[in-house]
């Protein structure tokens, strides 16, 4: 994955606010990279741009050699379906679906016939075999995040993007989730890009990118 001169500005009346400025970097296959920085430094915005969830003011993102923003919205969605998995700070599970149905969702959207079996296996892998038919509001925070991880890995994506995956968890659940994520990263050879302000977590990654007020600081890797 490669980011080239990414910039994001928002306008509010006459004022212009620069959230990201001239961010460029490469991430190699199977590499684990942490993006760190203070609140408001632009970490989550960068992650959103890398996944094509938002559009940049300038710059490009190449994912598996494809220019993300040369595609239209549906094209980006199709690319995400094929290549990208997500883990969010606030889990982002659909409340009307059971744990199993949440985990099945990416496979079903991609039209994969064996969605149920694969999702079941993945939930077993994250230790939630017994919780398949529970709804998100019946699960603890740690369990919800594990469902989210199962959902992220079920399609065996090449790239996993995680946005403060432990931010809403207590220390014990957080540690469990982190272990699980790195295990799966190794198991599936997935490229891992995670946003965090937890230095301990960042240290487990091969490389760290530091954002300060929207600018990428050199030389931390």
């Amino acid at each position: 994955m490669r980011a080239i001169a990414l910039a994001k500005q928002i306008r509010s009346g006459d004022a212009r606010l620069d959230i990201l400025s001239d961010v460029s970097f490469d991430v190699a296959r199977s590499e684990a990279v942490a993006i760190v920085g203070a609140s408001g430094s632009g970490k989550s915005t960068l992650l959103g741009l890398l996944a094509g969830l938002d559009t940049p003011s300038a710059g490009r993102v190449l994912l598996d050699g494809v220019d993300l923003f040369a595609l239209d919205e549906d094209g980006r969605a199709a690319l995400r379906a094929r290549l990208v998995g997500f883990v969010f700070q606030s889990f982002q599970l659909l409340p009307s679906l059971t744990a199993l149905e949440n985990a099945m969702l990416p496979l079903e959207l991609a039209g994969i016939a064996e969605a149920r079996r694969q999702a079941q296996q993945m939930l077993e892998r994250v230790g939630l075999a017994e919780r398949c038919n529970h709804y998100p509001n019946q699960l603890s925070g740690g369990e919800q995040q594990r469902v989210a991880i199962a959902r992220a890995f079920v399609g065996t994506p090449g790239l996993l993007l995680a946005d403060e995956p432990t931010g809403n968890l207590d220390a014990a659940s957080g540690a469990q989730v982190i272990e699980l994520m790195f295990e799966l990263n190794r198991e599936f050879g997935t490229t891992l890009l995670l946003v965090t302000h937890d230095e301990a977590l960042a240290q487990r990654c091969v490389r760290r990118l530091r954002l300060v007020a929207g600018w990428l600081q050199p030389g931390d890797a």
């Binding site: 969830l53 549906d74 995400r80 997500f86 982002q92 009307s96 990416p106 959207l109 994969i112």
Partner: protein, 834 residues
């Protein structure tokens, strides 16, 4: 904060909310409810004003006395000695003819001095200049109305045959007091001089003639005379003052008003659901603003007052818009009913507008005040802890308040406690039943599992419906009622009419002949024989009034039922027979064995209406003499046969020697109209009634009334859509959030949309299913209980309702979500999950 500041702030908040679309749906729901109510309100106000204006000159006098027999001379003498002006008239139906053509005509023969009050307007030709006159037509001349003029293509100076006389057409009557027409189309009319009646030979014993005495004078003298006359009138004689004019028209129009009002109330009740949903969303979205206001030092009462004022302004504003729409819509209603109401309607007064605004405010208050109270209770701490102060739901007091508001509105609009309570009960039962059914259907849907890629959209649609189960049930029920009303009034109505027409044999009698004199029976039989037509059966008919049951005198006021009152008030047509009529069936008791029996046979329906049973002794007054006889059998009559039938048949001896006329019915093929003209020429006193024409007229009236009610149900459907859109708006954040999550997971636009489509299509299809079921039940009930026809139903209303409902609601729902993709998914996730 003083009062003025509060109003200013409330206005500013309202303005901001309005601009951000916040209050749009709330306002729309109120607008729909008020528009429906005021449409009916304005329309009935116009009709009532027209009735009131007409009744002033309706009688042609201050007081009239009328009777089916000549009035005793004492009535006229007493009026003259009291210094009152007096004149009289005869009114009867008869055939009139011009050349070879003939028509049944309503004839009024008036004496000099008519009319005592009001004026006649006449013209020389159709649409010619009108002039007011205060006299009757001169002897030897007649005035005709526009219908008779066009029917025969008459000009002034032409002659018209009335009985045995030839009378000259002297003018066209354009306005006439004391007119039988006015609101409902009936027969063409002719006005003649009373002096010419004898020569026509039309008035004979047993003829259907109404004798009328007109009285006018100073109010005190008229009142005194009325009091005196009231003590002296016989039960078959009527006194009518200006106040009592045209009760049958009044009650018919009031009934029509009730039906329209009912249709409007259905919209109000459904709109109330939308108001409740929208108000709740409003409150949820304003919690933060309230917390901030509390933080800045606003007292609880201030916050409550501020938003109460906000809602009051909203209610008045939306009410005003609703009134404006209602004003426009009532014009359409008036045009739709124009042919049925043959009278110019004055412009409506302003009262319905006031009612509309009050109704809008009450509706808002009833459903928005309880959650509004929660806004005042929002703790200032919410600025720090967002989980605090969420509304706790309506609670018992809230529900009571809302129920009181809607109950009050219904009772107020129904204008009749009993009717209002029936309506309320009906609404409550229908709402509970349809919500229960909708809930059950949703639960059932949850068990349906469709796997595989194709089923994913539907499964998520179902999952969403089940999660918002209460809101979904409310939407399904509200939309179902709207669709049902439309189905019933379109498909089922046409279908029922078709079924009914199919039961009519083509050779059913299409002409009734009445007023056949005893001396004409043989000649009439010969007339049919000479033309090779089947001999019609002629039934004797004697007019008598029911005066006592089991020795107890009866009067209309003894009965609560309108129909029973009318029956007792009027003269019955009695007949006699040796054997039961061939198409009647004895359902209780037995037929008499001898002609001399003092026995009666009564039709079972009327026996039920009047509360009569086997063994009851009825006393009838026939032309002043009375007889008493016992009911020994009850008969079932097939009224759809269009044959002559009687409510009450007596053993032959009972009616011998009474003034009698005969009645018959026969089928005249369309190609034999010449025979009808011969009939009228040979027997000028006979009244020939064209049943087919009457049926066509009745059907036209029914169609127009159904049209008007159908028009009102468009408001119901609009209210149903308002519920749908309010529910969508209430869940828009959730939907945008879900859409964003799905897009993060790689869903294409089409996939996200198809989940939403599935959900709305299911709501619409369930509503359609419910509506088709309800409309079918209603159709069967109408067929069985009202029309008495076998009814198979229209099988295709099921697929039509389900598919139409599904697609229609899906399209409408997606329209409400057109902003689903307006923001990139990341922004949506940040906004909605914070």
């Amino acid at each position: 904060m003083n009062g003025l500041q509060e109003i200013t702030l409330a206005l500013r908040l309202l303005w901001r909310d309005a601009r951000s679309g916040e209050v749009g749906l709330l306002a729309a729901a109120v607008v729909i409810a008020v528009a429906g109510l005021t449409t009916v309100g304005f329309f009935t106000s116009r009709v009532e004003q027209a009735l009131a204006r007409q009744s002033n000159q309706l009688l042609g006098a201050d007081l009239t006395l009328s009777s089916d027999r000549p009035l005793e001379a004492a009535f006229e003498q007493n009026a003259r000695t009291g210094g009152l002006s007096v004149t009289h008239a005869l009114r009867f139906p008869s055939m009139t003819a011009h050349g070879a053509d003939s028509a049944l005509t309503e004839i009024k023969a008036v004496a000099d001095g008519y009319p005592l009050r009001g004026e006649l307007k006449i013209a020389d030709r159709l649409f010619g200049a009108e002039r007011a006159v205060h006299d009757a037509p001169a002897a030897g001349t007649v005035w005709v109305d526009a219908r008779l003029l066009t029917r025969f293509d008459l000009k002034t100076g032409d002659t018209l045959r009335v009985g045995h006389s030839e009378l000259r057409v002297a003018a066209l009557v354009t306005q006439e007091p004391d007119s039988m027409t006015g609101f409902f189309n009936s027969l063409p009319r002719l006005l003649m001089n009373a002096a010419d009646v004898a020569a026509t030979g039309l008035v004979q014993d047993g003829s259907r003639v109404r004798y009328i005495l007109y009285i006018a004078g100073g109010p005190a003298a008229v009142d005194a005379y009325r009091a005196w006359a009231q003590r002296h009138v016989a039960p078959w004689q009527n006194i009518e003052g200006v106040r009592d004019a045209r009760p049958e028209v009044r009650s018919a129009l009031e009934r029509a008003g009730y039906f329209l009002g009912l249709a409007a109330l259905v919209s109000v009740v459904i709109a109330a659901v939308a108001v409740a949903l929208a108000a709740r969303r409003f409150v949820v979205r304003h919690l933060d603003a309230c917390a901030v206001m509390r933080c800045c030092g606003a007292r609880r009462a201030t916050v409550t007052r501020l938003y109460a004022l906000h809602f009051l302004l909203l209610g008045v504003g939306a009410g005003a818009v609703g009134c404006a729409i209602g004003y426009l819509a009532q014009n359409l209603l008036a045009i739709r009913l124009a042919a049925a109401i043959a009278v110019a309607l004055p412009p409506p007064d302003g009262l319905p507008a006031l009612h509309g605004v009050v109704a809008g405010v009450v509706l808002l208050a009833g459903f928005a005040l309880p959650p509004l109270m929660d806004l005042g209770r929002v703790p200032a701490l919410r600025v720090l802890r967002r989980d605090l102060g969420a509304p706790r739901g309506l609670g018992a007091a809230g529900y009571l308040f809302a129920a009181a508001a809607i109950g009050g509105l219904v009772l107020w609009q129904a204008r009749d406690l009993r009717l209002g309570l029936y309506m309320l009960g009906g609404f409550a039962a229908a709402a509970a039943l349809s919500a229960l059914l909708a809930y059950g259907l949703l639960a059932l849907l949850g068990r349906v599992r469709i796997f595989g890629a194709g089923g994913v959209n539907w499964r998520y649609g179902i999952a969403n419906l089940r999660r918002r189960r209460f809101a979904s049930a409310a939407q399904v029920a509200a939309l179902g009622v709207g669709i049902m009303a439309l189905l019933t009034l379109t498909l089922i109505r046409g279908d029922l009419l078709a079924s009914w027409k199919a039961t009519l044999r083509p050779d059913l009698p299409n002409r009734f002949v009445i007023d056949i004199q005893p001396g004409q029976v043989q000649r009439l039989a010969g007339f049919f024989q000479a033309r090779g037509m089947p001999q019609p059966v002629m039934f004797p008919m004697v007019r008598g009034r029911l005066v006592a049951v089991n020795g107890r005198a009866v009067s209309p006021s003894d009965y609560a039922d309108d129909r029973a009152r009318r029956l007792v008030d009027r003269e019955f047509n009695l007949s006699w027979a040796d054997v039961p009529p061939s198409d009647n069936r004895i359902v209780a008791g037995r037929w008499w064995e001898t002609q001399n029996a003092r026995e009666l046979s009564v039709e079972e329906g009327i026996a039920g209406t009047l509360g009569l049973k086997l063994g009851d002794a009825l006393t009838y007054d026939v032309a002043g003499s009375r007889f008493t006889a016992t009911i020994t059998s009850l008969r079932k009559v097939d009224w759809d046969s269009f044959k002559v039938n009687f409510f009450v048949i007596a053993a032959p001896a009972l009616l011998q020697g009474q003034p009698v006329s005969f009645i018959t019915s026969f089928y005249a093929p369309p190609e034999r109209t010449a025979m009808l003209n011969d009939l009228v020429r040979e027997f000028p006193n006979l009244v020939v009634i064209d049943v087919a024409q009457v049926m066509a007229q009745v059907q036209r009236l029914m169609d127009q009334a159904a049209d008007a009610v159908q028009f009102m149900f468009l408001f119901t459907l609009a209210a149903g859509l308002a519920v749908l859109h309010t529910a969508i708006a209430g869940t828009r954040d959730e939907r945008e959030y879900e859409a964003a999550v799905m897009r993060v997971l790689g869903a294409r636009r089409g996939q996200v949309l198809s989940v939403q489509f599935a959900e709305f299509a299911l709501i619409g299809a369930l509503a359609g299913l419910l509506a088709a079921a309800a409309a079918s039940v209603l159709g069967h009930l109408l067929a069985d209980r009202v029309l008495h026809v076998p009814y198979l139903g229209t099988p295709w209303i099921w697929p039509l309702a389900v598919a139409g409902g599904g697609l229609g609601i899906a399209a409408s729902g997606l329209l409400g979500l057109r902003r689903l993709f307006a923001a990139p998914p990341l922004q949506t996730l940040r906004r909605t999950s914070g």
